[in-house]
Amino acid sequence: MKACSRYRFLSRNFPVFPLQRVSLWLGDDHLLYTRHGAAEDRYRRFYFKDLQRISVYRTPRAFLQTGLLALFLASVLLGALISGHTGWRVFWAMTGCLFAWWLVRSAAGGHSCACWVKTAVGETRVRAPARMRQAEQMLKRIQPLIERAQTSHAVETETGATDREVPLDAASPSPLDKDKVLATPADDSWPHRESPPRPELLP
């Protein structure tokens, strides 16, 4: 297993549905979308060279959430005012502080959003950038990486000739690129050199 610290954090979210923490990480040549389950992390990779479209739409979720929290806070404060016992007042005040902190955090986060990522395979809802501000920052951050990945791929496609040799460590042709050529395997770092058993023929 390679070193695991090569991903840089982009954004996270804890959506109500599905009740599962999700996060988005920036890799060398891809985005890693991670769903953190109770006992398992599931990954999905979006390679920059395959990204066709990223859509971010503003949603009213943050507005509703902030309104709901304000309502809760008002109820808690009312409870603190009408309760006669000091212990209950302290309890309601502490609960109110919790809701107030949550409310401020929700309001300061800005507008919520829904994000979709489209590749040749399909379009996927990515729940990690939950707020417009986060999504805009993420787009700014990955824009040059995507452009560089797709530009280098396009240049390679245009200049690719069937009679030239391409080293294996060079930028890889994408599945869309059919001008690939035969290359010689020159990497000895592969741990098992013996030939694996021949699997069943693919359809």
């Binding site: 990480w25 503003r58 791929h153 098992h192 694996p196």
Partner: protein
């Protein structure tokens, strides 16, 4: 054609690749849509199974009727575009990818990680509310924490605080139960 996710109306090209967000002309929802060059690329399917196989060109190991396009970096076999799997700028055949997946050798193809650190942590902490259960779960959490210490926790997490806490709490629980057993046995023997 790009359409609005909310109302489904088609969006003109002036509304995509903008610096900030723009509004849908039909439903007025603010959005940002970035379209990248890969969207305009087309898949070439000119090399079907019946395509004329050139005499001087090698065939795919798995599909003899198709011309080979790359060489697998794992086993060195000629493979066609159908069989090729691109991993970290290297080309592999499906058999080598399967081997890597089974051995979890490459972080590039790991699809999921079982979070043994979380399991061990919950095993150490949750039974504290039903404390007699710690007779079993304490040692289990400690053993699990030690057993999986060297395994990668996750692709995006490097630290092992949960495993450390599981080992510590599970160890304390085990120690507590052992002490209790020793005290009881000592009392019986007296």
């Amino acid at each position: 054609m790009i359409s609005c996710k909310k109302c489904g109306c088609s969006l003109s090209e002036t509304l995509v690749n903008t610096d900030g967000f723009v509004f849908c002309p039909a439903c007025a929802v603010p959005f940002i849509v970035r379209v990248y060059p890969a969207a305009s690329a087309t898949v070439s399917v000119d090399q079907g199974p019946d395509a004329a196989r050139k005499e001087e060109q090698a065939g795919c190991f798995y599909h003899p009727g198709r011309p080979a396009e790359v060489v697998c970096a794992g086993c060195g076999r000629f493979i066609c575009a159908l069989c090729e799997v691109d991993l970290q700028h290297r080309h592999f055949c499906p058999a080598c990818v399967r081997q890597q997946m089974e051995k979890e050798e490459s972080a590039e193809i790991v699809r999921a990680h079982v979070r043994f650190d979380k399991i061990a942590f919950y095993l150490a902490i949750v039974p504290l509310f039903v404390w007699p259960a710690t007779l079993l779960t304490g040692p289990a959490a400690m053993i699990m924490g030690i057993r999986y210490w060297n395994r990668p926790v996750s692709l995006v997490t490097t630290g092992r605080p949960r495993l450390a806490a599981a080992v510590l709490v599970g160890g304390l629980q085990t120690l507590g139960w052992l002490s209790l057993v020793v005290v009881v046995l000592a009392g019986i023997l007296k």
